[in-house]
């Protein structure tokens, strides 16, 4: 079968900085701290890194190339994520191809950002030309306003109630209480969720992420470079898709359905064989859309799925076992790597109080909000070496 990752590319290190609500750090410092943490977990010095992938929304006017200069690296392969929250996973997929081809041996896939609520909203007002010119002037409310439109449509078309979104959000919060790096530390009740401050109806406060500062990193390499005797985490399969479906912004479908069959075939496993699912949770409605697109439910069927299943870490369908962005915080571009870090920590047995008996799992990414929706989708299946 062509296209699968030959010999299953290894993830040999993982790192995450503490997430902070306010920070004086520069994004370069946060990137470095995440990289340093991941290299320590891989047992490798910085000079072994010969490929670098960076995604950070506040990085311009700098870029991955100048970051390589700042860090004193001499990479033969570079990547910069331009796919919003889909970038973390896409950077891993592209890095895997480079490693497969021998174009790089040790690739650091890095995401980080420095944000608070005000600076994040300011960036989102001019994130790209369609947003700046055809949404911003109308007071669209940022991504909250855009995904309020999608949430309204999902409720009207598929019969979802706010309690359905609330159940998922509340379960993620319960998972977050077991994650020392999550910014939210108190349980969430359905009453709290339903009556929280109005943002853009039907979205209220707990439907929206808290922008913060943080960084996340995984180190990819050939399997023979993994520390001997350590956990053998593999990238099994993955995919990306953009601007799908081209003809309908409000299809309530994303690109996952375009590549998921190929991804599952390459992985050699199916959705029900995953021990956890790390979804991109910028908004609860997008988690429902991902579950459908990735094969967990038919179109519109995520409502029934979430009503029936327990998505806490001890439940029958663990989703966002570290709390996800909605309970841990969204550190900008790191929103696209937080699920990967959680997945790798679970597979390495480093998930502490939220540890699952995990052998394989799914991670998904989404982002690059433009004219009324996120343009980019990604996903990957990770697992322990069989």
């Amino acid at each position: 079968m062509t296209g699968k990752y030959a010999d299953r590319v290894a993830i040999i290190g993982v790192g995450q900085t503490p997430y902070e609500k306010r920070s004086q750090k520069t994004v370069h410092r946060v990137l470095w701290e995440a990289l340093d943490a991941a290299l320590r977990s891989a047992g490798l010095p910085m000079r072994r890194v010969d490929g670098l992938a960076v995604t950070a929304f506040v990085l311009p006017p700098d870029n991955v190339t100048t970051v390589a200069e700042h860090f004193g690296l001499e990479p033969r392969w570079l990547f910069q994520g331009l796919y919003g929250g889909a970038s973390g996973i896409i950077s891993m997929l592209h890095a895997a191809r480079a490693i497969q081809a021998g174009d790089a041996d040790v690739v650091a896939c890095l995401t980080a950002d420095v944000f608070d609520v005000a600076s994040h909203m300011d960036l989102m007002d001019r994130f790209n030309a369609p947003v700046r010119d055809y949404l911003g002037p109308y007071g669209f409310g940022g991504p909250n306003g855009i995904f309020a439109l999608h949430t309204r449509l999902y409720m009207e078309r598929h019969g979802a109630r706010r309690e359905d979104f609330g159940k998922l959000v509340i379960a993620q919060r319960a998972n977050a209480l077991l994650n020392p790096n999550a910014l939210f530390k108190v349980p969430l009740s359905m009453n709290d969720y339903l009556n929280a401050r109005l943002i853009a109806e039907p979205l209220r406060l707990y439907d929206c992420v808290l922008p913060c500062t943080g960084g996340d990193c995984v180190i990819l390499a050939r399997p023979d470079l993994a520390p001997r005797g350590g956990p053998q985490v593999r990238l099994l399969a993955g995919g990306e898709m953009h601007n799908f479906p081209v003809e309908d912004v409000f299809a309530l479908r994303g690109g996952w359905e375009r590549f998921r069959d190929r991804m599952w075939a390459h992985a050699g496993y199916g959705p029900t064989e995953m021990d956890f699912v790390q979804l991109y949770d910028d908004y609860p409605v997008m988690e429902f859309v991902q579950l459908e697109g990735l094969g967990y439910a038919p179109f519109g069927g995520a409502v029934e799925l979430i009503r029936k299943r327990d998505t806490t870490v001890r439940g029958d369908l663990p989703i966002n076992t570290g709390g996800g962005q909605l309970s841990a915080g969204q550190a900008g571009a790191s929103g696209g790597m937080i699920g990967v870090v959680e997945a790798v920590q679970q597979l390495r047995g480093e998930a502490g109080a939220r540890q699952l008996p995990a052998r394989r799992g799914l991670v998904a990414g989404y982002g690059m909000v433009a004219y009324g929706r996120g343009l980019s989708c990604s996903a990957a299946v990770l697992g322990l070496e069989d």
């Binding site: 010119d133 949404l135 002037p137 940022g142 309020a148 439109l149 449509l153 853009a200 409000f250």
Partner: protein, 136 residues
């Protein structure tokens, strides 16, 4: 407080000039085998890939696709107007356009999706009006 503005270019200027003149204008693909309308303003037709687009007066009519009553604007300049309705409109000619609902008094949300609307032109920043939509 000045509101966020579009950056005017040779591609989109006719749209914003139309708003100032009280007319909704849309690009239309000049390829004989396409002829579809285009919004937001582009350098090529996203339907067929053709590079020749012309500007035409549009009906200003459409239907509401979705809506949200926004309480937290993304820019402080909108605070005096909040809460307000941010809407997506399927224009009669085909394209999707994002705007605001211009309403006198409370809006009946039940059945709002699918309601017919028409463009009205409202002041935005000095020297620039925008197209908002009102229920027909």
């Amino acid at each position: 407080m000045e509101k966020p503005s579009a950056r005017l270019t040779s591609t989109n200027r006719p749209f914003f000039e139309g708003c100032n003149e009280g007319e909704l204008r849309l690009q239309r693909c000049l390829s004989p085998s396409c002829g579809q309308y285009v919004y937001y303003p582009r350098v090529c037709c996203p339907h067929c890939g053709g590079g020749e687009l012309g500007w035409e007066p549009a009906s200003g009519r459409g239907v509401v696709v979705s809506y949200s009553r926004v309480h937290r604007p993304q820019h402080d300049s909108f605070l005096p107007e909040a809460p307000y309705y941010f809407i997506a409109v399927r224009l009669h000619e085909g394209p999707l356009l994002f705007s605001r609902l211009q309403a006198e008094g409370p809006v009946q949300e039940a059945g709002l999706i699918g309601r017919q609307v028409r463009a009205v032109f409202v002041p935005h920043n000095p020297g620039q009006r925008l197209a908002f939509f009102t229920l027909v």
